[in-house]
Subunit: 347 residues, 2 copies
């Protein structure tokens, strides 16, 4: 075949106002048909090595970049997954997000996030709808919240959605850390130190994680036949832990305290320090999450570590399974680990 003359020298790569080069442009420069270029790019079908080289040179010369919209239109695949995340800096959700992004990127998927400032049935449904409009191939809902779990009940059956920590009942695959088990470990650890009982500063009632941790704590106390004190309700913030600590100190109820997360544990430590109550001498404290700072609290905090990278990986795995037609009722449980530090140390 006679090589066609190049149509007028190199085009300025992607200068403003110039349209991006297309397959056809590349084909023109390489002197082949656009299909051959497509084959070179996707590795579909056989191409003679010299032809391939010519095509690659043309791609390079023009700075060609495939048009993902056109590709998506014809293949029906966008290579994008959606994540509904709670807009918060809480250590857990943020870490989960990174874990997911990690796993997805390795598998060649892009991640689009749609964050939700206030968890709620409709806001989550909106976020899901929003993502579906962007033609994601599957959606992960980071749903630590009760309402999120409920929102998932309305999840479309014909579209792959999975949840992280989204409650037992949700009709979608769910990945969670075994919060109850973590709480059990912390509580048993405290009981084993000889305490009469263990107080609990719980997270907000409408968080599933808070419920499960409270449940694990309660069960453990009951199983050991000790008194179950009134739960103290916090909101995950250090402030709420601080207030809980103040009232505990004031009433002189000083056994052991299991806080629903590390931030609240920090507040407890602060309140006890102010009240002249020594940790671990007068009261022992444990938290949940193992934030990176926990080892440097005063005193260093005993806490329950969750492996969020693992959670992300499992989540992505379950989503791809579901996308391939897997079961809607799959479950994955990640087991947490107790990290013992000075806040529950010897007296």
């Amino acid at each position: 075949m006679a090589e066609r003359p190049r149509s007028g020298g190199p085009v300025r790569a992607t200068a403003a106002g110039t349209r991006q080069p297309s397959l056809t442009d590349v084909a023109g420069v390489a002197g082949v048909s656009h299909m051959t270029v497509s084959r070179v790019i996707n590795g579909t079908g056989p191409v003679r090595p010299e032809t391939r080289a010519r095509v690659l040179a043309a791609i390079e010369e023009l700075g060609y970049r495939p048009n993902s919209a056109a590709r998506a239109l014809v293949t029906g695949r966008t290579g994008t997954l959606g994540v509904v995340a709670l807009e918060s800096n809480l250590y857990g959700p943020a870490s989960t997000l990174y874990g997911i992004e990690n796993a997805a990127r390795e598998a060649g998927y892009a991640i689009t996030i749609s964050s939700v400032s206030r968890p709620g049935r409709s806001s989550i449904a909106d976020a899901v709808e929003n993502l579906r409009r962007q033609a994601v191939e599957g959606i992960i809902v980071i749903a630590p919240h009760v309402t999120a779990g409920r929102a998932l009940e309305a999840a479309p059956a014909d579209f792959p959605v999975v949840a992280v920590g989204g409650g037992e009942a949700a009709p979608v695959p769910v990945i969670s850390v075994d919060q109850r088990d973590g709480a059990r470990r912390a509580t048993e650890h405290l009981l084993a130190l000889g305490h009469r009982t263990v107080w609990h500063v719980a997270g907000p009632e409408d968080w599933l994680e808070a419920r499960d941790r409270e449940l694990g704590w309660r069960e453990t106390l009951e199983r050991h036949g000790v008194d179950v004190p009134q739960v103290i309700r916090g909101d995950w913030s250090s402030r709420s832990g601080y207030e809980a600590g103040r009232s505990l100190a004031k009433e002189g109820r000083l056994d052991a305290v299991f806080a629903g997360n590390d931030q609240m544990a920090l507040g407890l430590l602060r309140a006890f320090a102010e009240a002249g109550v020594s940790v671990p001498r007068d009261v022992r404290v444990a938290g949940f999450d193992d934030v990176p700072e926990a080892a440097y609290f005063t005193p260093p905090l005993t806490t329950v570590r969750q492996d969020f990278i693992e959670v992300g990986r499992r989540t992505f795995g379950l989503l791809t399974q579901r996308m391939d037609g897997g079961d809607r009722h799959a479950r994955a449980l990640v087991v947490p680990e107790l990290i013992v530090r000075e806040s529950t140390g010897p007296r």
Copy 2:
């Protein structure tokens, strides 16, 4: 026009294997042309109210959802922005991400993130390329790192890229918090309390924020004509702050310490507590960031607060400006605020 008979009752919305309904399907059900449906959806061109109602009903009935790929193909707009983020739980970058997502969503843009585990020239370039392949309309690089700043030098001139904290020299618009000013405020605050000098535990040398904070600290000391002690190098972690604190306590160099972030300040507090050094009596400590926990450290930490929501908003604003052909050399500076707490309180 005679209304065409509906083509066989409601289609199962999006049952597996059934293709999604298209504009033409909706048009068939509503008895209009596909263009009329398009006009209803996009609000372009006039449509009689009754026609509109009929179309909306058909959309509802079929569960129609516009195909974003087809739309992007013809309009050349994807409605998506890319964010290159450092894969880390550091409070600042994570908060910035949420700030950006917020602003973008309000303006109707979706956000695709591409995270980078290790900042580096090539990894950032890869992430940018990765996002461009997904046809984002603009890219935000959260680039607190020196190498990130350098990677930006190679940013394409014909494509809108902006950076958050990306260094002065970058040939892209940059939004940053005035780190030098924040460091100056903290340092002056400490000097005003009568200290002979102020030590500084800096972040990693290859972080721009660490450099700027160090610079602000140094300048302030020099301006006040006091001795500039050897800077102590940390890595943002509480551990590194702890080690810095131990060596300071051991050498008995106890004036005031300005830590490059709150985590390191926490490590300092921990080390001082262990060494029996009282804060603020024996030494005063200030941090940077105002993480939510800072108010509950022992003692509560004086620190410099950055408004990340504002940073996100400004970043998005600068990106849209740039997308409309704005200047490559635009700059935006967000001013931080000193929060005084007990760690620099009266003795």
